[in-house]
Symmetry: C2
Subunit: 274 residues, 2 copies
């Protein structure tokens, strides 16, 4: 669905295609409704503000989403917002008419889902460039993730962790990462690169409710080898304890069970229209 019409194409003049000039959200659909819709829409709105793209009306876009996911039990919704048309050249047009694209995909295979055993990760050679202006938002410039994801083919590897050029741990290609220590949980600060995941935000909410210390800070990648346990999050897989990173093994029982339960309940909660 493109701008409310049933279509599966966009103009070759769309700036999403010309320059990656836009944003996206990847949303789990359960029982005919998008999960954590408010969190996804809020992140898109923040990204749109950062890029200077007019954000579509929340009611309009929600009604289009509802029409598309009605009766769908289990799926993935990708919502893309681009700056729209505007001809050649980096300069944005004076009047911006953004393009909104909704597309449904099958859910990821259940074997990497949250009800299964802990996952395996690798460390990527591809690093993340730093740019505070683009950090945190889920924009369409994703070549770094594409290159990192091309480093492995083995299906038993769920994701690869990425560092910046200073050797700080940042995130996975499609997940946020958390390190469990004796005195609390730590996750990398994302003010210079990386995406602030909606499930990452949910982990903060749940940890606060449960009284589990959780801090956001710079994480030198060497800390990976000192952590008791590791977990990763995204909006399709939920919260996943890590069994192994390369040949290093973690004790996934050191991931607080109440946190795991609470996050994985929250992440797949369909959010009905208000």
């Amino acid at each position: 669905m493109v701008n409310g019409q049933e279509r599966a194409v966009v103009s070759i003049e769309d700036r999403g295609l010309l320059y990656g000039d836009g944003l996206f959200e990847t949303i789990a659909v359960r029982g005919g409704a998008p999960c954590r819709w408010s969190a996804h829409f809020a992140r898109m709105a923040r990204g749109a503000e950062r890029l200077g793209i007019p954000c579509p009306d929340a009611q309009l876009i929600r009604s289009e989403v509802d029409a598309l996911v009605d009766g769908i039990e289990h799926a993935v919704l990708r919502l893309t917002l681009t700056r729209g048309g505007g001809g050649r050249g980096y300069r944005a047009p004076d009047v911006q008419l953004p393009t909104r694209i909704l597309a449904l995909y099958p859910s990821p295979a259940p074997e990497v889902g949250p009800n299964n055993s802990a996952v395996q990760l690798r460390l990527c050679h591809t690093r993340l460039g730093e740019n505070p202006l683009l950090a945190g938002i889920k924009h369409l410039n994703r070549l770094e993730q594409v290159l990192a994801r091309s480093e492995w083919q083995r299906p038993e590897i769920t994701d690869g962790l990425m560092t910046d050029y200073q050797g700080h741990l940042i995130c996975g290609t499609m997940t946020n990462v958390f390190l469990v220590f004796d005195d609390g949980i730590v996750t990398p600060a994302l003010d210079r690169c990386g995406v602030v995941g909606t499930t990452r935000s949910l982990v903060f909410e749940c940890a606060a409710v449960l009284g589990i210390p959780l801090a956001e800070r710079e994480v030198p990648s060497a800390e990976l080898w000192r952590a008791q346990a590791l977990f990763v999050t995204n909006s399709l897989l939920g919260m996943l304890p890590v069994a192994r990173l390369e040949s290093w093994e973690y004790d996934d029982r050191a991931v607080p069970a109440p946190l795991l339960a609470r996050v994985n309940q929250g992440v797949f909660q369909p959010e009905m229209p208000t």
Copy 2:
């Protein structure tokens, strides 16, 4: 024209749109032929190799270009190559069927063309993130340039210069930059960010023929205020002496006239099919 068909749309599943997963070239068309075609195709082929995208056959794509620009006296051709379709997720499909897109646009306004007086530039606040894997190639992840270009509206400003986060001068949003000193010309090294322009390469060729010293190296942005003269290049505007950067004035007569003449003759040379 998309994959040889007369169309002006691409699938919403094209990875060029999903992730900016592709490359582009912007080519001047003169007298029914693309200017410096070989240089543009070679850069695209290098970029495709870097990203692991199968590069279309040179003959095929050239014949499509010829069909499109036949009889066109003066225009801009944008050639885009994406990784093609392949569903949701960063992982590239096992079998890649790239999308090639050809589009014609009007030439830029003649007042910023090479036969006119020297141009005015500004310094951008938006900086370039560093990523050696993506440096040099003309990929579709161009949000940094879009944000930098959004910093000004005044039409008398031809381009804005950009630095990296360490304060090195890199390039303009749509140009490469050269600094003229007493003992030769210097241009920033582009191994960590920036695009290696085809006209930049032409400047190297012409300078070599003319015996003008030209070096590529790290350029701290403070050197801008020590240069005698400045010029910028791109494939649509050619080589442009700079009259002014912010409120700083340059002597555009210090730009070697034989170099200017030779580059601007070469850059708009239509390259007939072989």
